[in-house]
Every structure is written in structure tokens, then in C-alpha cells.
């Protein structure tokens, strides 16, 4: 059977180019292929296609099913447009859709997009296989466990399918897009892996727990370390990949179980002689030594830390289960180990006051990290999460799927947010440039260390880069303070203030951008040192 699995392009301007393939499509494709079906993958977002371009690639005559994956609600409008275009020309093809948003909003999805035949809810492999097999055998697909569909005007939802008990039994995800990423996205492309599904934590804004907690089965499952390292080794061998992004929301476990798993990683990676770089995500309360010394040794060079808040009231609202002291301690560990830190942070929430915004800014500055995305981030309403469900109960949420919104009760915060929306887009641009350059340093340093080459020029260049980033954060903070000061006095935005602030942000951006271009384009760091002396490895701070 011929199947096409699609991630539609978002169809809207994004400040950030997509850098990694859809693992969802990779796993689904591999599972179907393992069972003898012919599957093509089209990642419209990764390829930077328009909806029209993506549509042109859906016209294979032999197709029986097209499956759309939706990574987050911002993809919904373009996905619907693509489905409708396909339906208009290919009425015989079964169109299905899966992912978080379709799982929780299957009613709205099937009502709003009549082009779609079904929704594959929750974990998709077995459900999609059974759907494909029904179509192949011309059996009634409406009996398939795990799907939702329309019967006339009524949306029917079948029982959720139990989760796959042993993730090691799944075939490794298809890697159709690895050559594309390597060839066309050298600056931002990254190869990702998933070492687990679900999460042991229960943050109030996050829908992972609801997604994996919906069907029968354990909501948090780990692949064996051997299975994950096998996958890494195969990608090194088959594609020459040296840098990996582990997309697990938490890479380490608490307590002894976590230490044991890290030790197993160390043992497997070193036994196989793998010299790779890893980027992982973790909670602040798990970032400590000596565990992270071990992780450094297996190649961890970047952490995505879900900080989300620094005010204890907001941390409690989020049910994060971490304290500001733990966050600061985590930063200390990562600084000592020279592991890069990227944070996620949610500055604007229903509980945020102007005073909290002021405190957040000072706290973020003290953490010495690129906080620009988090500064501008507003809590999104993801129905199914405890916070969103609570907001809906309180009558705070307006709009309909996929465009939910809400007003923050402190009106001064809404004024500040509107000013940010209208004035601070240069902050997003520069944040992206910082991340790209930071990565170049990280990769270069890793390679030079592996070769045993002199690092002095690189380390000096890296220090100048960090100094520049600190300057950028300080100057960005000044602009943001200007907005907070305005919002403390005025109940609405004036055009004059918007124009003045936008101009200020743009001028700052020009200088920041050109400084980063100088560092990235003109510094001698990428030449590798003068070759005279090798910097001993122990001088790199541990």
C-alpha cells in the first residue's frame, strides 16, 4: 500500500527555521515499512515549502492514505488548507491526522476540516498500521481502535489504544531527511533522537502527561540505553553524524535510578568509542555533580533547561517542583563544566503582575543566559493541561481552536505585552543569531578537543562572544525596562511610544547583528590555533 506522511509547512513567517526532521513521521514510516507498506515522507516545514509546493508533491497516483502530523496548533491552518486541496483533487484517498492538538481537539478538527476522514489519537504506530491494513483489505476502517471520525454530523471517538509497552521493540525511525539536513541546513540542522516517551514530572502548562496518560499503559517509558546508543552508532556509521539532539523532556531520572542510567550511558558510549556531541533537556533539580561530570564525558555540551519561571508564586502555579536556588545551583554546575545552556521561560501568564515582570528581568540577567525568547513568551492555552483547564473553568479563555486567547488580569502587563509584540521583534532575530553562533563555537570546540588541537584562539573568541551576549542582554533589558516603566504609568499604548521603542530596538539590533557577524565571520578562531602549544584537557574547567 502506498502511504504519504506529511508535516505541512506552517505557512506563516517564523523567526526560526526548522532544523530537525519530524521523529513522529520517522517512527510511523518505519513501523509501516516494517510491515511491508511503501511509505514516503514529506516534511514541508523542514524543506521550507509553501502549501502550494507541498500540494504539488501529493499527487502520486498510487496513494491510498495520506497522514498529516501536527506538531503544535500553529500548524493547523496550513494543514487544513493542504488537506482541503488534496481532497478536492483526490477524493478517493483516505486523509488522517495525528499529533497532540488533533488528539485533544478531535471534535474541532473533524468539524472544521471536512476534508479529513479520521484522527489518529495518541500514540500512532499501531493505530495507523491497522487503519492502513483495513483500507488495503477493504474492511470497515471505522472499527479501528484509537481513531475518531465523523458519522454524518456526529463525531465518533473509539476507545484509545493501549500504549506500546516496550519501546525497544519498535523499529528505529526512518531517517529519510538526514541527507537533506546535512546538505541543505548545515548551520541549523540537527539530528534528533527520542530516548523515552512521556515525562515523570507534572508541570501544569504541559500536555505531555495528558497525551501519554490518556490511553492505558505507563505514561512514562524509557528505551534501554543499549537501544538508544545502537541508534546513535548507526547514524554515526551510516551518515557520519557527530551531533545529536535528544528530544526527551527530561534526560535524567531522579535519584539512584538516574545515576545508574547515566553510568550505563557512560559505559556503552565509551566501550564503543563513540565521540559524539549531545544536546539534552533536563530539570534544574537534576543538574548536579558528579552526574553531570559523567554526562560531559559522554559528550553532553548543551542543555535545554525548562526554567519557565523564577518567581516562587509562578513556579508554584506551574507546579514545577523546583526552587530558584535549585535553578541557580544548576547554572553554577553547567558554568563550571562549560556546558551551554538554553532556557525556556514563560514571562507572561495569567498570574503575572508588573512587579513580577520587573523581578523576572533582574533574575534572568543574573543567570547570565540568553533570555530573549523567554522574555517575550506568553503562556499558550493547551487544552488538556491542568492550567488551561483551570483557566477555562474560570471563564478566562476566549476564542476557539486553534486560536485560544485570554486577558491577563493585571492590565499593566497587557500594555507591556502589547508593546513587546509591536516593538521587540528584533529581539527574536538576534536570539536566533546568538543560538547559531553559539552552536558554531560548541561544534568547533568539540572537534578541536577531539583532535587535541590548541584551543586558545577559540576560547578567546568564545569569551568575546559571551561578553557580547552579556552586552546584548543588558541593552535588551534597558529597552524592556523602558516598556515596563511606560506600562506602570499608562493604560494604553501611544503610537509615539511604539515608534520610539521600535526604533530603539531596531538600532540596537543593527549593532548587535554586526558585532555577531564580525565574530562569526572575521575572528581567527576557526583557523585553529597557532599549533605551538596544546592546551591540556584538564585546563578546560570541570
Amino acid at each position: 500500500m502506498e502511504v504519504l506522511l506529511i508535516k505541512a509547512p506552517r505557512g506563516r513567517y517564523s523567526y526560526f527555521r526548522e532544523g530537525s526532521e519530524s521523529l513522529a513521521l520517522g517512527y510511523l514510516a518505519a513501523f509501516l515499512r516494517w510491515h511491508g507498506h511503501f511509505v514516503a515522507i514529506l516534511d514541508g516545514q523542514l524543506e521550507g515549502l509553501s502549501v502550494e509546493d507541498a500540494f504539488a508533491r501529493c499527487c502520486n497516483e498510487g496513494l491510498v492514505l495520506i497522514g498529516f502530523t501536527v506538531a503544535d496548533p500553529s500548524f493547523i491552518p496550513a494543514t487544513f488548507r493542504l488537506a482541503e486541496a488534496v481532497r478536492a483533487t483526490r477524493p478517493e484517498v483516505h486523509l488522517t491526522i495525528g499529533g497532540y492538538a488533533p488528539t485533544f481537539h478531535y471534535q474541532e478538527v473533524l468539524t472544521q476540516c471536512q476534508a479529513l476522514d479520521s484522527v489518529v489519537r495518541y500514540e500512532g504506530e499501531a493505530t495507523l498500521l491497522e487503519l492502513v491494513q483495513c483500507l488495503e483489505d477493504k474492511r470497515d476502517w471505522r472499527q479501528v481502535q484509537g481513531i475518531a471520525f465523523r458519522r454524518g454530523d456526529v463525531v465518533v471517538c473509539n476507545e484509545p489504544r493501549p500504549l506500546i509497552a516496550d519501546l525497544d521493540l519498535l523499529p528505529l525511525p526512518a531517517r529519510d531527511y538526514v541527507p537533506f539536513i546535512q546538505r541543505h541546513l548545515p548551520e541549523i540542522g540537527v539530528i534528533s533522537l527520542a530516548g523515552s516517551r512521556g515525562c515523570y514530572a507534572n508541570c501544569g502548562f504541559c500536555s505531555i502527561r495528558q497525551f501519554y496518560g490518556g490511553p492505558p499503559g505507563p505514561p512514562y517509558r524509557l528505551r534501554s540505553v543499549k537501544n538508544v546508543v545502537d541508534e546513535i552508532e548507526s547514524l554515526v556509521r551510516d551518515h557520519g553524524v557527530e551531533e545529536f539532539l535528544l528530544i526527551d523532556d527530561v534526560f535524567t531520572l531522579p535519584g539512584n535510578a538516574g545515576d545508574k542510567r547515566v553510568a550505563e550511558w557512560r559505559e556503552k558510549v565509551s566501550k564503543r568509542g563513540l565521540r559524539v556531541m549531545l544536546s539534552i533537556s533536563d530539570r534544574a533539580d537534576q543538574i548536579r555533580r558528579p552526574r553531570y561530570d559523567e554526562l560531559y564525558r559522554i559528550g553532553v555540551r548543551q542543555i535545554m533547561m525548562g526554567v519557565e519561571a523564577t518567581d516562587p508564586r509562578i513556579l508554584a502555579y506551574f507546579n514545577k517542583g523546583v526552587t530558584l536556588d535549585e535553578i541557580r545551583a544548576a547554572f553554577g554546575v553547567l558554568r563550571d563544566l562549560a556546558i551551554d545552556v538554553t532556557i525556556t521561560f514563560i514571562n507572561f501568564t495569567p498570574k503575572t503582575t508588573l512587579e513580577i515582570l520587573e523581578e523576572n528581568l533582574e533574575c534572568l540577567l543574573s543567570l547570565d543566559v540568553n533570555f530573549l525568547l523567554g522574555l517575550l513568551n506568553r503562556l499558550q492555552v493547551y487544552v488538556g493541561t491542568p492550567i488551561a483547564d483551570d483557566m477555562i473553568k474560570q471563564g478566562l479563555v476566549t476564542g476557539t481552536f486553534p486560536d485560544f486567547s485570554y486577558r491577563i488580569p493585571d492590565e499593566r502587563v497587557e500594555v507591556a505585552y502589547e508593546a513587546c509584540r509591536r516593538c521587540l521583534s528584533p529581539f527574536l532575530e538576534i536570539s536566533y543569531e546568538i543560538m547559531k553562533l553559539e552552536r558554531r563555537f560548541r561544534v568547533k570546540q568539540f572537534r578541536l578537543e577531539r583532535e587535541g588541537t590548541d584551543l586558545r584562539a577559540l576560547l578567546e573568541g568564545r569569551e568575546w562572544f559571551k561578553t557580547t551576549c552579556r552586552t546584548i542582554m543588558r541593552e535588551a533589558a534597558d529597552v524592556f525596562r523602558g516598556i515596563l516603566n511606560y506600562a506602570s504609568k499608562e493604560c494604553s499604548l501611544s503610537d509615539h511610544f511604539v515608534e520610539e521603542t521600535r526604533e530603539r530596538a531596531s538600532k540596537r539590533y543593527e549593532a548587535w547583528h554586526r558585532t555577531l557577524l564580525l565574530i562569526g565571520g572575521y575572528a581567527p578562531l576557526f583557523q585553529g590555533g597557532d599549533g605551538a602549544l596544546l592546551l591540556p584537557r584538564q585546563e578546560i574547567r570541570r
Binding site: Y13, E18, A71, L245, L424, M435, E475, A511, T515, Y522
Partner: protein, 77 residues
């Protein structure tokens, strides 16, 4: 962008840019402006390298931030 500065030249440029935002903006207005500012502090080769810089038109997206797109992008890279 092409060209590489020497380590000394790169250091001198970075030091020169560690100034107030308004002064930095003037230094970065053009390659020749930057070259002139560090003329006595760098080698002739570095000075020529800087003087040859032409800043491209900087990429800029739409003025309004879409709140749904701030973090929901790729890989964190």
C-alpha cells in the same frame, strides 16, 4: 563575509566595540568607519580587511510578534 583578522586585530576590534551603544553604532556604521577607529591598534592587513567590509541589508521579519511562534519552533537551535 570573507576574510580573517589576526588574533591581535580581532581582540582590538572587540575592545573597541566594548563601548556605549551610541558609540558602538557609529563604529559599526561601515567597514571604513570601524577600520578608521582601530587604525593605530591593528596591522595594515587587518585595517584593510575591516575597511573592505560591506554590511549587507539585514534580514528583518514582520514587525509584529506572533505569540504562538515565539518558542514553538524547532530544536532550540
Amino acid at each position: 563575509m570573507k576574510g580573517r583578522l589576526s588574533q591581535d586585530g580581532f581582540r582590538a576590534v572587540m575592545k573597541a566595540l566594548s563601548c556605549a551603544p551610541e558609540s558602538r553604532a557609529q563604529l559599526l556604521a561601515s567597514g571604513p568607519a570601524l577600520a578608521a577607529a582601530v587604525a593605530g591598534l591593528v596591522s595594515e592587513e587587518d585595517r584593510k580587511c575591516l575597511a573592505a567590509i560591506r554590511w549587507d541589508q539585514t534580514r528583518r521579519g514582520p514587525g509584529l510578534i506572533d505569540e504562538k511562534l515565539v518558542l514553538c519552533s524547532s530544536s532550540g537551535y
